[in-house]
Amino acid sequence: MENRRGTIRHTKLRAFEEIESSLKYPFCLNFYDKPPIDDITIEEFETAALDRLRVLAEIESCFARNRSFDEMAEVIKTICKSDRCSLWLSTNSASDKDLDKEREKDHIGHFVLRLAFCRSEDLRQRFVKAETTLFKLRYRWDNTEERQQFLNTRDFDWVLASSEEVQELIPSDPPTTYYKVKWTRVPDLVEKRKVILKGGMAYVPAAEQASIVFQAFQTLLEKALEATAKALPRLDEDNRLVPILDNLSKGFQAGVSSEWASKTEGQEGLTADMIDEMAYKHYPACMRNLHMALRRDKHLKHYGRLQYGLFLKILGLSIDEAVAFWRKAFSSIQDDKFNKEYRYNIRHSYGLEGKRANYAAWSCQQILMSNEPGPGDSHGCPYRHFSTDNLQSALLTMYSDYGLTSQDMPEIMNMVKQKHYHVACTRVFEITHSRQGVKKGEGVGAGESVTHPNHYAARSRELTKEEGKEGDGDVVMQG
């Protein structure tokens, strides 16, 4: 520790030795030039990465949903501050916080995800975009003075343009301040013609100075990821890390699973005969599809039973009610066949048989990425696994009673086309709950997107409860 603190100070932070002496991380902003070198546990490693992944995935879906930067700032701030992620970085003035601990977690999370996301061009690009956005947000949230101190510790290679130069290029009164950098350092400003170009130098107006910082962050990260990708084959030898990294990158591709997988926060006293109504009112399309298939065929294949059964468990269906539900649903099957083949599996999924594991309900990530459905299967994610035509008509069948119309389809199908399945699902949630006051962009609460079917259902029930109508609806049969 001592050693490390000394190293950093002497290379980078000499200028601020006097101002910040007690902190390992003197600033909330970090360019992540150096990997963390303290020993960390596998749990710290995983938590820091997963929490950060949630934030990055939410940033991605903000882009997919075309949120303005202001809206995104609100959504991401809420998520960073939530207990689920706790990735909020306090400024130095917040004396009641363990600043080093917060910043170390940020540092570790960033580097773990680098390992996970350096492995393909596509992942690299997405990671860079999300991380650069997170940096931009923090830059905005940071205290102006501390931010300036941070900037002073780095060399951005900018030169203040002399007033003669400026007057010659851009005569104005009073003269504006311009910074001079190689144009290649600020491509985004060049593309939008927000600079003056002369001889390969870009004259950046003071108001756009932050762009130089962001571009530097992005360029540095791009290079670092490429270098990591080249070095990675050596890392693959550490087989404790590989599965975690694999999982993380899959999580990013599918939107991230929330803690819904294991929480049993369902309704007390949920019984088998309440499921039809529940399905009609509160299910996301994947579960609605499974439920409809079950009613139609009086049967579900293996993965369908698994996906739906675990969902029901988290929904709050007790083991006895679950057995009753499936017994009734498989109405064309004889008792002893049911007892022999299915009862065990249901009890097993509740952790009452076999190795008594408490199986988690599938997250959107798992539904999207594993056990791809074959021709006779009903599991999977309709947004991903249905043809465009089938998806449209299925969605209209499922949700037209809740206000979904064919006018909504182009927007939804466009998201699907761009492979933003959870975004499409979130949008459907918003539309079908607009009567309860859910507005576009609010998602399943605080702007979050759907990342777990149980989250979808729980939020839907919560909204109905808030309306004070839960329980007095009729039982509606679907079939």
Partner: protein, 420 residues
């Protein structure tokens, strides 16, 4: 007369192509141009070449150790043309033996493609693949504007303009920094230079400023060059607003309903009114206009830009791995050589005067009968036969350009030596 498919053109046979590659193609100059020095470096050895063979077979990822190897392969494939791609992190021909992650484009000249077909809505003399010295004036204006912008604004010096053999022109920028540009930076540069946006369905294609603000300085610079072009080319030569289609398109760009209907009435009545007079009618209206919030002066400038500003094929320039036809190839339809063009004399360049491959071979035969004629005759190397044909000034132009590149390389090396 226009260069046209319908015109009688001597066919370019495989035999002609082979004789051209053997006796005339300046492989040594091409090598030096790509390599920036005499000893082969990765700039050449890791460079992708793609061949289009007779019958449209397309072979990608070829690479060569030196100019002789390239020449040998070209003579053996006898392609109708070949293209140049990026410098990869490994030799393209070895790409199957390296990890995919270790094979990616690293360096590439910054390239541009301007094609006459993009000018069809604003030219009256020809259309499609045809081109004549009259519509070449559009290309000439584009070359002057881009050449100036790239030198002044981006600070690049090593620009090679190459006639594409038929109806367009290519630009290759070989400055070290240009070679190193990432795709993002290329996209940004193209964005900076692109002014004409939107396809057929968009009337107004120029959107470079907020209402009632002056043109950005870089566009103002281009505008100053283009204003006289508009008068000479659009109004006088092409007489673009003579036809109803032409003047109706112009009306669409005028953002004032009163003026638009006044002009429409007038022009409908006097159908024969020349483009110049119609434009003067509009300019009179602009000058008379006293509405406080009027944007007409800007509209006038935007119209001039819309009718004259370079139309770029942006996709060609944005990505490092885009392939572009090599200089000195033969255009298969016209037989003309893709020769370098001097931007300073671009206005007097006449595409119809560019030598054809048949013409060059005839010139050569007059001096020395073809060595390829006799069956089984030893293949004599003719590295500098071009010196005795009308191809010479063009190869000289490339060689002079290459000298500039080599000088840069020498300076860079010297600097490195000193810094050690």
């Amino acid at each position: 007369m226009a260069i046209s498919d319908k015109q009688e053109i001597e066919p370019v046979t495989p035999e002609i192509m082979l004789a051209f590659y053997r006796r005339l193609y300046p492989f040594k100059s091409l090598f030096a141009w790509l390599n920036h020095e005499h000893v082969p470096t990765k700039l050449f050895t890791n460079r992708e070449f793609a061949f289009t063979l007779q019958g449209d077979v397309y072979l990608r990822y070829n690479s060569f150790s030196n100019a002789d190897e390239l020449k040998k392969q070209v003579c053996s494939y006898n392609p109708t043309r070949f293209e140049i791609g990026p410098v990869y992190s490994a030799r393209p021909r070895d790409r199957k033996t390296v990890r995919p992650a270790a094979f990616s484009p690293q360096l590439r000249e910054l390239v541009f493609d301007i094609d006459m077909t993009d000018y069809d809505p604003i030219r009256t003399c020809c259309s499609g693949a045809d081109i004549c010295h009259r519509c070449w004036a559009f290309i000439a204006a584009a070359v002057r504007v881009l050449d100036r912008a790239i030198r002044d604004q981006f600070g690049y010096h090593h620009l090679l303009w190459v006639y594409s053999g038929r109806r367009g022109i290519h630009l290759w920028v070989s400055d070290r920094e240009a070679l190193e540009l990432t795709d993002d930076q290329r996209r940004a540069l193209v964005g900076w230079l692109t002014v004409i946006h939107g396809g057929k369905e968009m009337h107004k294609k120029v959107n470079v400023r907020a209402p009632r603000t002056p043109l950005p300085p870089s566009i103002q610079q281009a505008y100053n060059m283009l204003e006289p072009v508009f008068r000479e080319l659009i109004l006088e030569d092409q007489d673009l607003f003579a036809s109803e289609e032409g003047w109706k398109a112009l009306l669409q760009l005028i953002p004032d309903n009163d003026i638009r209907s006044r002009l429409e009435e007038k022009w409908e009545e006097k159908a024969r009114r020349s483009s110049e007079s119609k434009w003067d009618d509009f300019v009179d209206e602009v000058e008379r206009d006293k509405k406080p919030k009027s944007n007409l002066k800007n509209a006038k400038e935007d119209i001039i830009i819309q009718y004259t500003y370079p139309r770029l094929d942006a996709e060609v320039s944005k990505r490092r791995n885009h392939l572009l036809k090599a200089p000195f190839c033969i255009h298969p339809k016209t037989g003309r050589v893709c020769v370098p063009v001097d931007p300073r004399t671009i206005d007097s360049f006449d595409p119809e005067k560019v030598p054809t491959v048949q013409q060059l071979l005839r010139e050569l035969d007059k001096i020395a009968p073809s060595a390829t004629a006799g069956e089984g005759a030893a293949v004599v190397e003719h590295h500098s036969d071009w010196e005795r044909t009308s191809l010479k000034p063009y190869v000289d132009m490339l060689d002079k350009h290459v000298m500039g590149l080599m000088e840069e390389t020498r300076k860079a090396k010297q600097k490195m030596d000193l810094s050690w």
